[in-house]
């Protein structure tokens, strides 16, 4: 099928699809006029039941905790899948890798002093910010997923600053893999704690504490921390794998 025919076919199909979509969306409640029963219930029970003012966090890590477990393992499986896909490539190209270990040096020359200074200067604040977002997930907007990505971006900055060799030192791969796996396992273990305490999986078995303080909301902070570790590990792992491909290829272009 030629590109032209395909585009024409798509435009016709898209027009029909758009019509059906708009027709369907018109049946939804008006924007700003939603009265969802689940949302209303959660808003009323989250603070008294879980001692957390952050209802989104309580929904994610407690009321929908089992779904979040699945979500975390989607990320775990995807990171694993990407590593497997890219590792096979690395085996194929082993000889090439030994020939050209200089792209890292070349990249260092391409990096300006200003970028390097700013990048390295931001690493510390970003690590602190990432940890802050993770441990305050039950109090303020944020949590394990967001904080984990912030934490991982600190490691990416080390690379942007042009120090691939340093990056390899601050990012020992076994440690990253253990962090990722430990985060994933942590969630399950906290969930199993509820069963050991004599109730169901992910039952809150910890004291709820004073609402609004750092040590409150039962197991939600623990789940946030394990998710944060898992996400940070997975993102650093993915970034390193793609970076390694880039270094193997010896240039930034192509795929």
């Amino acid at each position: 099928m030629s590109r032209r025919v395909r585009s024409g076919l798509f435009l016709v199909a898209a027009a029909v699809f758009a019509f059906l979509l708009i027709w369907g969306l018109l049946g939804l409640p008006d924007f700003g006029d939603y009265r969802g029963p689940y949302g209303d219930v959660l808003q009323q029970v989250a603070l008294p039941e879980r001692h957390t003012p952050q209802v989104v966090g309580a929904t994610t890590f407690d009321y929908r905790g089992f779904d979040t477990l699945g979500e975390e393992f989607i990320l775990f499986a995807a990171a694993l899948g990407a590593v497997v896909l890219l590792r096979q490539q690395r085996g194929e190209e082993k000889d090439e890798e030994e020939e050209q270990d200089h792209p890292a040096d070349r990249q260092r020359r391409d990096t300006s002093d200003a970028l390097r200074l700013l990048g390295l200067g931001l690493v510390g604040p970003l690590v602190v910010l990432g940890l802050y977002v993770i441990v305050h997930g039950h109090l303020t907007p944020g949590g394990g997923f967001q904080g984990g990505v912030v934490l991982a971006s600190a490691f990416v900055l080390v690379h942007v600053a042009g120090r691939y060799l340093i990056l390899q030192r601050v990012r020992p791969m076994p440690l990253v893999e253990i962090t990722e796996a430990g985060g994933a396992a942590g969630f399950v273990l906290v969930g199993l704690g509820g069963m050991i305490a004599g109730s169901t999986f992910l039952f809150n078995f910890l004291p709820l504490g004073e609402p609004g303080t750092l040590l409150s909301a039962g197991m939600i902070p623990l789940l946030n921390i394990s998710v944060g570790l898992e996400v940070a590990g997975a993102v650093v792992l993915l970034f390193s794998e793609f970076l390694e491909q880039w270094l193997l290829r010896g240039r930034g272009g192509g795929a």
Binding site: G36, Q54, A82, P141, Q245
Partner: protein
Amino acid sequence: MSFLPYAVVVWLLLVGLYGIVTSHHLVHLIVCLTVVQSSSYVLLLAIGYRTGAEAPIYKDIPPETPVVDPVVQALTLTDVVVEATVAALLLALAVQAQKRFGTVDPDEIVTLKG
């Protein structure tokens, strides 16, 4: 005015699909897929919105304040994570395609196979 968020949803979905259909580059195609998926974030957040409501965080607001629906916000979080993982896996496959076929143009890959 009240249909505007839903119109954005339709627009994002269709413009992303158009990008996928006409794409010449696998990475471009994957980015278009993330545009398609971002329409679902807008849809979820638009459904849960209430005029004049606060964010569902009872830190500095009295408990009776109307807030937007926290369930759809949690679902959006799931959506973002799934999108990121899908993009990562597809990008790894794009690297693989470049190595195997020597091209990242979806049309050329199909031609090579046929």
